[in-house]
């Protein structure tokens, strides 16, 4: 690591007073317990909270992945003897029941979206990085911050428990469209499972809300001296916009959730029309409109799609610059495009509803706005390419994941255009084409970004670096299996192969697709198995990895001036910011980069002047 030397030895490895433990010695066992709780369980330290989010979400990530495998199994070999789960259906000779399958994919999506992607980006990395990167010693509202984590637990429990209630977990899709979701009799999972689903959803919402308020306040009020808005790293910008999105979109979903709850429990009729009879059982009051839910739901959930990708974009931007040893290409355009995505994000929800019976004229307007939202994404992509152009690329594991994020995001973005084109959407709507699309954005995109971030900030979290070799093995296998699984879904969708079918092969149109699906399932199994490498590497490095310095990657942003891991209060001296976050390969200076805190430097000033 040639770059490590460049950090000034004066401040290297100065140990931190980690307040809690020192107390815990004086104290009695009880006292020790209480300090233990207050420090590590009900801690108000943004880093501990961040890690709590990280571990919880990673565990749910495992659950979601296993659910996905079960789904893939049924799609590839319908009604065949299911491994492990087969024990549950011994009387059926090991085959899963269709409503169980619907439950599986519903909960796979639910877990992945509400318990993994959203909390791991905003919760884990937002919490851990925001104060560190803006030079604050903690969040604006530490208690609120703690609550935002502990409000996830009712959600964890609600979703987790719903698997075991009568009728099983929710099984009306993660979109839980009425009247399937509102009418208790319409399917097994629409009983207790659906109610618990709504409860869990509400708690996730509250948690995100608390978080977003906190992030906005912190970023606006608690920046270090000299840290102007336009010296913020992209990560922070992304987190900021995300927080704004959540603050404005979430109330709608929460309200809608309560309306659906009312429809189900006290017989109101917001979403079910007059005299709607399902399974020979009357719905509630009636007089409602199923489409209303779709509008409300997507008014949140489309912005949510950006909530699920923007922070990853931000983090990837920072990682790319660091390992390309090059300033970010077009910093301001990047910021504007993020803002643009956020703005447009509120007026494109209708493109989920082109086939829903919504007035086709509306479809036209939504098509235009949707086409337009592709623009900022394109700008970002070009800027990323511009960033690595002419760089001095260090292919660390983290960088590989970041690059793959770009590569995969291109695919996900482009396939989106098909759906945006209403006439084409007529054919591919609700087929595997859309499945491919959002898995490329959310898995191949966000998840890869998250891995990049984990490998990148791991030293800051635990003071040790992860094993590079096994990291690269993990990357390679994941990358290969991922494309094996999801790219093929495009052509599957081109045949019109519909989503959410427990067995599509009795349709003459689709019966020849089973071998392809089997192939995809093999890849999926490989992909999940690969993550064992990651898990072992992660925990192993946490204790036996090589000790990292404060700034192992020679990055510029503020967190790298703090010790690894930072103690309570983050910085051992108040950081003062003199420049933007991306001053790499500055000509005429010793070392190849200037950290944001490095004192003003003539050569740098000159170079900057020349560059602009």
């Amino acid at each position: 690591m040639s770059t490590v030397e460049s950090t000034s030895p004066a401040v290297q490895e100065s140990p931190q007073t980690s307040v809690a433990p020192s107390h815990s010695h004086a104290a009695s066992t009880a006292g020790r317990l209480s300090t233990f709780l207050s420090t590590y369980v009900f801690s108000k330290d943004h880093k501990v909270i961040g890690l709590q989010f990280l571990f919880s979400t990673l565990l749910w990530f495992l659950v979601g992945g296993l659910l996905a495998l079960a789904v893939r199994w049924q799609v590839a070999w319908p009604w065949s003897d299911v491994p492990v789960l087969g024990k549950l259906f011994a009387q059926q000779g090991g085959q899963m029941a269709p409503e169980f399958y619907t439950m599986l994919f519903t909960m796979h999506a639910t877990v992945m979206i509400f318990l993994v992607i959203i909390p791991i980006l905003a919760g884990a990395f937002g919490n851990f990085l925001i104060p560190l990167m803006i030079g604050a010693d903690d969040m604006a509202f530490p208690t609120l911050n703690m609550l935002s984590y502990w409000f996830m637990w009712p959600a964890f429990i609600a979703f987790g428990a719903s698997f075991f209630v009568e009728g099983g977990a929710a099984s009306s899709g993660w979109t839980s469209y009425p009247t399937l979701a509102t009418n208790v009799n319409s399917s097994p999972g629409s009983g207790w499972g659906q109610t618990l689903w709504l409860v869990g959803l509400t708690f996730v919402g509250v948690s995100s809300m608390l978080g977003s308020v906190n992030y906005m306040t912190t970023i606006i009020l608690m920046r270090a001296p000299g840290m102007t808005m336009f010296r913020l790293p992209m990560t922070i910008w992304a987190m900021f916009i995300t927080a704004v999105l959540q603050a404005f979109a979430l109330p709608v979903l929460t309200a809608a959730g309560f309306m659906q709850l009312a429809d189900r429990t006290i017989g109101t009729g917001f979403f079910s029309p007059e005299g709607n009879i399902v399974n020979n059982a009357m719905a509630g009051a009636g007089g409602g409109q199923p489409l209303l839910w779709q509008h409300l739901f997507w008014f949140y959930s489309h912005p949510a799609v950006y909530i699920m990708i923007l922070p990853a974009m931000g983090m990837v931007s920072d990682i790319l610059t660091t390992f390309a040893r090059k300033p970010l290409f077009g910093y301001r355009p990047m910021v504007y495009s993020v803002a643009g995505i956020a703005g447009l994000g509120f007026i494109v929800w209708g493109h989920h509803m082109f086939m829903s019976g919504m007035n086709p004229a509306l479809g036209v307007t939504f098509m235009v706005s949707t086409m337009m939202i592709a623009l900022p994404s394109a700008v970002k992509t070009f800027n990323w390419l511009g960033t690595i152009w002419g760089g001095r690329i260090q292919l660390t594991t983290s960088m590989l994941f970041a690059l793959s994020f770009v590569s995969m995001f291109i695919i996900g973005g482009l396939s989106g255009i098909f759906m945006a084109a209403t006439p084409v959407d007529i054919f591919i709507h609700d087929t595997y084409f859309i499945v491919a699309h959002f898995h490329y954005v959310l898995f191949a995109g966000t998840a890869m970004g998250v891995w990049a971030a984990i490998y990148f900030w791991f030293p800051k979290m635990f003071g040790r670096t992860m094993n590079e070799f096994w990291g690269k093995v993990h990357f390679f296998l994941t990358f290969v299996f991922l494309n094996g699984t999801f790219f093929t879904m495009h052509i599957l969708g081109a045949v019109g192969f519909p989503r959410r079918l427990a067995d599509a092969y009795h349709y003459e149109t689709f019966h020849h697709l089973q071998p392809l699906n089997a192939f995809m399932t093999y890849c999926a199994i490989g992909m999940v198995a690969t993550q064992i490498i990651f898990a072992v590497n992660f925990f192993w490095s946490m204790f036996y990895g090589p000790v990292a310095g404060r700034n192992p990657w020679g990055a510029n942003t503020l967190e790298w001036t703090a010790p690894s891991p930072p103690g309570h209060g983050n910085f051992d001296y108040q950081p003062v910011v003199y420049r933007g976050p991306y001053e790499y390969s500055v000509p005429g200076i010793e070392g190849d980069h200037l950290m944001q805190t490095d004192p003003p430097n003539q050569a740098a000033a000159a170079a900057a002047a020349a560059a602009h």
Binding site: P188, N279, V536, Y544
Partner: protein
């Protein structure tokens, strides 16, 4: 200020750190202890993690890749509890059934049943999903998740359907072209599979090939016969004489002649027990016929109004049950009554064997309760058909309605009009019922047709 404090901390820390390195005890001694503790647990922790991973892998490989147990038939526990069978007696029934009818994966049937082994083979067993070629395990692909592998109408999905899926085991089928007491013909079963039962959860399988529907019908017959034999066997225990020591004779005379044959013959007899339907007068005056039908509908002769209601909305008799639900309902009553009585009795004023009897009684009631909770669906009332919707479970052809009125609906409260209502009157009722979904103004013609109330 803040900055100053921080720098001070730092200095203190560095000093103490040096001290620690030099082996001196620092005033607070934090670092050293923290150090050791940190390393002790850090030594243990990865072991735990890797252990966990290993366990998961082990789980996946052993339980996962090993095949799960083959599908099995469930005993009719409700009947068994009702007949107070002892475990060894249940065992005997299970064994006899296995001998006579095989397993879900290899079904066989006594030749007396006249079932086609090839068809059974096509329908039975696990789904073998060879996509292009022929597909076996039809029953488990299309039917089992509602009707259950045993055909007891208790598949995983059953509890949520309204009405419940049919339990084949009593051998009672509602919609058929034979007299009330008779079994349905093979064609009847095919018909139901083709058209489904409108207004229930039974979908239409019209798009399956004839061969497949044929095989499935045969398999339904097989499950039904098997279930009836099971019932007969369990009931036979009550008829045993004391010298039999509570064990059924396992010879051909009893098992085949006494138990299997009657069932099998009933099914074979059905094929030529068709109701003969007299022609509806070709030159019938529809309007008049409808008027006549209305008269009968409300009158004391056909008396339809009593159950189907004055409006024909099916609200005349709303708290009646299908026979199989009545059985469960009755069982619940028995158990409740028994428990009450047992509650009143106190073991104080009993001698030893009375007390034993009492305990045995309680044990039985307790098990019965468990069986009713776990092996039976909570009874649901059956409502008379709402005749204003034009949705008729057994089909909407005039012929179907004629069958329903003529023979009633076996297993359901609907009585037969046969014998007491002359055929031409039945036709009038049919015509009237077919007019009910529409606004009928008494006269008919191209210029003023009947118009439906919007059904949906």
């Amino acid at each position: 200020m803040k900055m100053l404090v921080r720098t001070l901390d730092m200095e203190y820390e560095t000093v103490s750190a040096f001290a620690a390195q030099a082996g001196f005890k620092t005033p607070s001694g934090d670092l050293i202890r923290r150090d050791t503790r940190g390393h002790l647990s850090s030594g243990l922790f990865p072991v735990w993690v890797l252990g966990g991973v290993a366990v998961v892998l082990l789980l996946l490989t052993t339980t996962g890749c090993g095949k799960t147990a083959a599908a099995s038939y469930r005993l009719n526990m409700v009947e068994s509890a009702k007949q107070r069978l002892k475990p060894e007696q249940e065992q005997q029934v299970a064994t006899i059934l296995a001998a006579l009818f095989g397993t879900p994966d290899e079904p066989i049937a006594p030749s007396e049943c006249g079932l086609d082994a090839a068809k059974l083979h096509l329908a039975a067993g696990p789904v073998r999903s060879d996509i292009v070629g022929r597909k076996n395990g039809l029953y488990r692909e299309h039917c089992a998740h509602c009707h259950g592998v045993t055909g007891d109408g208790m598949g995983p999905t059953a509890a949520f359907l309204n009405p419940y899926p049919r339990d084949y085991r009593p051998g009672v089928f509602k919609f058929k072209s034979t007299e009330r007491a008779d079994k349905p013909t093979h064609a009847d079963l095919v018909m139901v599979l083709r058209n489904g039962l409108a207004g229930s959860s039974m979908p239409s399988f019209a798009l399956l090939s004839d061969a497949k529907i044929d095989a499935l019908s045969e398999y339904v017959k097989y499950l039904s016969i098997r279930g009836e034999v099971e019932l007969a066997l369990m009931r036979a225990f009550f008829e045993l004489d004391d010298e039999d020591q509570g064990r059924l004779p396992e010879d051909r005379e009893f098992l085949i002649e006494e138990i299997v044959l009657p069932v099998a013959e009933a099914w074979q007899a059905a094929e030529d027990a068709l109701i003969d339907v007299p022609e509806m007068a070709a030159d019938i005056d529809m309007a008049a016929s409808i008027a006549k039908g209305k008269e009968l509908f409300y009158g004391n002769k056909a008396n339809c109004v009593k159950c189907h209601g004055v409006t024909g909305l099916g609200d005349g008799q709303v708290n009646d049950y299908d026979d199989w639900n009545k059985v469960v309902l009755q069982a619940h009553k028995t158990v409740q009554g028994g428990l009450e009585q047992a509650g009143e009795a106190s073991t104080w004023d009993m001698d030893a064997d009375e007390a034993d009897e009492h305990r045995a009684e309680l044990a039985w009631l307790d098990r019965f309760q468990k069986v009713l909770d776990g092996n039976a669906l909570p009874p649901r009332t059956i409502r008379p058909r709402n005749l204003r919707q034009g949705i008729y479970r057994g089909g909407m052809r005039p012929l179907d309605l004629y069958y329903r009125i003529h023979a009633g609906i076996n297993g359901a409260p609907m009585p037969a009009a046969k014998g007491t209502v002359p055929p031409e009157d039945i036709w009038h009722i049919v015509n009237y019922i077919r007019s009910l979904p529409y606004d009928f103004n008494g006269t008919l013609g191209v210029d003023k047709p009947m118009v439906a109330r919007d059904r949906l």
